[in-house]
Structure formats: structure tokens, C-alpha cells
Symmetry: C2
Subunit: 153 residues, 2 copies
């Protein structure tokens, strides 16, 4: 089994567990949306609208509200991250692994998003939080600017 397939299977289990724990129900729509999301959007940052437009091509019966609610469900269950890049639209991204955490560089010209991870920053944040007796649940770090293609270098 490829690492990607492996990760997908783990996410599916996490979702199923969440659904049973919260006394929700498995549905055909949720299965379809799950597959679409984890097959095509790994490493991407898709808006609800974009995602809905793509799913409609193969599954025209699925409504916007269902897509919207299912992505929220994915976030609540911990298998998707909700991102806000400041353009007024929520974006969703499949989570690769439990403890992986990365940040984003967003090009203000072309809109491309580049990911990076940096353990040094995580260390700093933990120190700061401890110093301020702050119980960290989440943190967000974004760099806005011009990517190498757009800065003309």
C-alpha cells in the first residue's frame, strides 16, 4: 500500500470513529465527498465553491449545502484543516498526519500558496505561551508577499 493510500485509510477511520461517537450517520454523499477530497486535494487549499463545482461534474445530485456541511464535519472530526488566507473565503485542506503542522506563504500577486514547516518557530511559540501561561490550542502563521515567479527574479 502506498503511503498516500495508507494515510487516506487512517483518515477514513478517524471520520468513521467521529461519526459513531457523535451518533451521526454514514451516507453515500459523505463517502463521495471524502473520496473526492482525499484523492484530489492533498496539499491543495480549496474553497467550498470550487470543490462543489468539481464534485457536481460527477455527482450532479449533491447539493451545495451538503458539501458545505460535510467539509465542516471533516474539520470537526480532525481530518481537514480550515484555512483563512484573507480573501474572505474559507479554504479546506486534507490533514496529512496527526502531528504534522505547517505554515503558508501566500503570493499576493498570483495567489499561489507555498507551505513550509519550521521547528524553530514552534519552539519559540511554546516558550512564549509558557511565559504567558497561555494554553495553546492552535496557531496560525502566514507570510504574504511576492513569490519568486511574480517578483521577477
Amino acid at each position: 500500500m502506498t503511503p498516500v493510500a495508507q494515510r487516506k485509510m487512517e483518515r477514513r477511520k478517524t471520520l468513521k470513529d467521529y461519526i459513531s461517537r457523535m451518533q451521526l450517520k454514514s451516507t453515500k454523499q459523505r463517502d463521495v465527498i471524502f473520496d473526492e477530497f482525499f484523492n484530489n486535494y492533498m496539499g491543495k487549499h480549496v474553497t467550498v465553491e470550487e470543490f462543489y463545482e468539481n464534485i457536481k461534474k460527477n455527482h450532479p445530485k449533491i447539493g451545495f449545502a451538503t458539501v458545505y456541511r460535510t467539509l465542516k464535519l471533516f474539520r470537526e472530526s480532525g481530518i481537514a484543516a480550515e484555512r483563512d488566507f484573507g480573501d474572505g473565503k474559507a479554504r479546506y485542506e486534507p490533514i496529512r498526519s496527526e502531528n504534522e503542522h505547517h505554515h503558508h506563504m501566500i503570493c499576493t500577486n498570483c495567489g499561489n500558496v507555498y507551505e513550509f514547516a519550521n521547528s524553530q518557530i514552534e519552539l519559540c511559540l511554546n516558550q512564549i505561551a509558557k511565559l504567558n501561561q497561555f494554553d495553546v490550542k492552535d496557531h496560525k502563521l502566514q507570510i504574504h508577499g511576492l513569490c519568486s515567479s511574480c517578483s521577477g527574479s
Copy 2:
């Protein structure tokens, strides 16, 4: 002159310069909003709605759209920062000095916002940007979690 008054004067000059450079006009409303903003919201993070409600008490003639547009103008001129703490409302904060840059810890329980600065993080970001040939215009860092009051410690 107190340091606060000094900073306020510098911001006023920056705004006047921007207004003349862009061929805009000074108005009574802009003056009123400027004073209100720099007298009462230093270190705060006010929404347009909140700010408008407060200004209405002393200046009932000033409309919401004017407040909205003026805060945008303050941001464009560089005397105010626009923040997004993830609750769907833009927040505005007077900028203390040209090169001061700080980050935010936001309590998910009481909503209080705590500021912090950390030169180590700035260094990391610069390295990362250089490594990726990314021309940084801005960066945002937020920590979400429970403050010491709310975590019950």
C-alpha cells in the same frame, strides 16, 4: 509632550501626507474619526461596528459608511493595521510606530487579545523567505487557546 501625544502627532502627519499625495481631501469627519481612534483605541482591536456605535454617541451625524471607509483609509495610509482574528469581522488597531511589529494570542474562551513581540521569530521568517526567494510584504502570526484566567490556573 508625552510619548503617546508624540506618536499621535506623527500619525497625523503620515495621514496628511497620504491625503495630499493621493489628492484626497481633509474633512471634519476624518479629523473626528482620527482623534477618536488614536485617543481611545491604542492597543485595542476594534471592529467597525463597535467603533461606529461609540462615535455615534458624540457625533450622531457621522454615518456608518464614512467610518468604514475612513478606517480603510487609515490602513491604506499606514497608520492603522487591519486584523482578522477568525470571527468574520475585521478589526482595526492604531499603529504605534513605523517598524514595530507584534503578534497576537487570542483566548478562544473570553476573546481577550494579548500582544507579544519576538525577534527570534522575525529572524526565522526572514531566513525562510530568503530560502524560498519570497519577497515578504507582511506576515501574520496568531496563537489561539486559553488565557491564564480562562484555563483556571
